[in-house]
């Protein structure tokens, strides 16, 4: 191979390198006029070589970039190799981010022109931007979640923490990031947090616990998730909740004590108070039996003592209902079953009063309640209706039952009796010893007992009434 053949070979090789390079390459003279350009560059410009060569590069640059390219060219012409990144949209081309090198070409020590080699870093830049954007987004998420969040590597070093951690634990991230957590919180070594985190990391299982952080006087709810990288820990301040629980507990204890007092009171009523009363009653009866002639004074004494005893018996009945709350377990009860039982036991009284009772309650209507209470409720409602029936007409009573859309059973007891002035009675209707009829024998206990029983089963009662028209009771049972 001859020397000249070698040279041609070498020139062709360089030419091929120039033409086929993926980099965008052009050659400018000292003034910036394009002398040569490779295929990659022409592809970007969407032009033929003839349209580009011989023209100044400024012809293809957006105006705002002309000074930059000029400056860099001058530096290269001065003999310096320059490199810069630029986002550029050549005329007629797509926008690109380019990493540009300008390399001076020296011939006999003088700079004859400049090679401009541009590497397309558009995708790379976009990726970088995406990564940065994601990191920012993640940071924003971590900062904006209401939980405190920090991350530990497997050597217990704090690698990340959010603002909430700083706020709750009174730390500053620039002071503690990168440090071993047990050096930052030495008081917690061997404490609950220490044990739980070690457990999580050792077993690979997440832990969830509540613990008291004594230094900050905080109750914290903590979730820690172990991973290859270490431990991610989320926690939140549950001090108010803990305090609420404490006061709830105190309230429960108070209630329990009050209930105990109430039981004590029941005992007091049913024994201590009644013992002397029964003696008095007995003595009055003996006196009565021994007196030769009817004695009006003695009659009244006996009547008074008997009334007192009735009051005591009522109180005992009421307090006993309360006492048994929670003891008498609710069970599914068929309402018609209990209603029929009550009607049966009142058969004679109803017949005597020539009363008619229409029972329009479906057999399948059941409630979850206490059978004895339900019996007492229905019994009281029916005896009330009998007691307060109108002397002007026979008692008619209609009992209906439906299932409410929300699931409660609703019973109505409607009668055509004396009724009462509902508005005037107001809230007193279901109070103890409130009576709305002067003449009858009521003791004002029935409605109160009904309400007490319903309350005990989680039900409620409403009433509508008009004097001399009748009364309607509405019972709602769960």
């Amino acid at each position: 191979m001859s020397e000249s053949a070698q040279f041609v070979d070498s020139e062709e090789r360089l030419r091929s390198l120039f033409e086929n390079s993926l980099d965008l390459i052009l050659f400018q003279d000292r003034e910036g006029v394009i002398q040569d350009v490779n295929g990659s560059f022409l592809d970007l410009l969407h032009r033929a070589k003839a349209d580009v060569t011989g023209r100044h590069i400024n012809a293809f640059l957006p105006n705002e970039l002309v000074p930059v390219f000029h400056e860099k060219l001058q530096q290269a012409v001065a003999g310096t190799r320059v490199q810069f990144d630029v986002a550029v949209q050549f005329k007629g081309a797509e926008p690109r981010v380019l990493n540009i090198s300008k390399v001076p070409l020296r011939v006999d020590g003088a700079v004859k022109g400049v090679h401009m080699v541009a590497r397309d870093i558009t995708d790379l830049t976009a990726s970088h931007q995406l990564i940065e954007q994601q990191a920012r987004k993640l940071n924003t998420i971590f900062e904006s979640i209401t939980d405190a969040l920090f991350h530990l590597d497997r050597n217990w070093r704090l690698t990340f923490l959010n603002h909430e951690v700083e706020r709750l634990l009174h730390v500053r991230r620039e002071e503690i990031l990168g440090r071993n957590i047990w050096e930052v919180f030495p008081a917690e070594v061997n404490g609950t947090f220490y044990k739980q985190y070690h457990h999580a990391l050792a077993t690979g299982h997440a832990v969830h616990f509540e613990a008291y952080y004594a230094t900050g006087q905080l109750w914290l709810e903590v979730k820690a998730f172990p991973s290859e990288e270490g431990l991610s820990v989320y926690f939140s301040d549950i001090t108010p909740r803990q305090e609420a629980q404490t006061s709830q507990k105190k309230l429960t204890e108070d209630l329990y004590r009050h209930n105990q007092d109430l039981q004590q009171f029941t005992y007091l009523v049913s024994h201590n108070l009644r013992a002397p009363l029964t003696n008095a009653l007995g003595l009055a009866q003996v006196l009565q039996a021994e007196s030769a002639a009817p004695n009006e004074t003695l009659n009244y004494l006996e009547a008074s003592l008997e009334q007192l005893d009735l009051v005591l018996r009522d109180m005992n009945a009421i307090l006993s209902v309360r006492d048994q709350q929670g003891v008498a377990l609710p069970e599914p009860v068929q309402l018609t079953d209990v209603l029929n039982q009550v009607l049966h036991s009142l058969q004679d009284s109803l017949q005597q009063a020539e009363a008619t009772v229409v029972l329009a309650v479906p057999d399948e209507l059941r409630v979850h309640g206490n059978r004895a209470y339900l019996y007492s409720i229905f019994y009281n409602l029916l005896t009330n209706a009998l007691k307060y029936r109108s002397p002007a007409r026979h008692l008619e009573m209609i009992i209906t039952g439906t299932r409410q859309p929300e699931g409660d059973a609703r019973l109505t007891f409607e009668d055509n009796g004396l009724g009462f002035d509902r508005e005037k009675a107001g809230n007193d209707v279901f109070r103890l010893y409130k009576r709305f009829h002067a003449t009858s024998s009521g003791r004002g206990l029935g409605l109160y007992l009904i309400k007490t029983h319903l309350d005990a089963m989680g039900g409620r009662i409403e009433v509508q009434s008009q004097p001399d028209a009748g009364t309607q009771f509405f019972l709602y049972l769960p």
Binding site: S270, H271, T278, N279, L281, G282, L283, Q285, V286, R313
Partner: protein, 134 residues
């Protein structure tokens, strides 16, 4: 006719004695205000002088009516055939009524005050049993 009355309340004892006398059951009433003494007495008296009727108060200090019933458990066979035991209490507690049903020794729980009618009924019961026992 032997009747034992166990009640710490002396007015109640006075009343019950008075009623028993009036209804013809008062000839041999032994009253104890101390349940312990009553139990000691009964332990001696059974079986030769087993009473036919016992009125037992429930709420007494140191030893309740229930305790007395427990103490009398060893004599249950003898007592069930020959003696009516009535609990006589001023308490209205439902739990007492329920508990009384657990004792075969107890004939009935009576709420004070004891009435003439009740005493008469008890008298009749005793007479019937005497006839049956021959």
């Amino acid at each position: 006719m032997q009747t034992v009355l166990i009640d710490d309340d002396f007015i109640s004892v006075f009343l019950t004695e008075k009623l028993l006398k009036r209804e013809g059951l008062g000839d041999t009433v032994r009253s104890f205000q101390s349940p312990q003494e009553a139990v000691s007495y009964l332990q001696q008296a059974i079986p030769d002088q087993t009473p036919e009727l016992i009125f037992l108060d429930l709420n007494m200090p140191l030893m309740s009516g229930w305790d007395v019933l427990e103490a009398l458990k060893p004599y249950e066979a003898e007592l069930v055939t020959r003696c009516f035991i009535y609990l006589l209490t001023s308490s209205l507690a439902y739990s007492d009524t329920a508990r009384a049903k657990d004792y075969t020794l107890v004939t009935e729980l009576i709420h004070k005050p004891l009435s003439s009618n009740k005493v008469q009924a008890i008298h009749t019961k005793i007479m019937e049993r005497r006839a049956n026992l021959g």
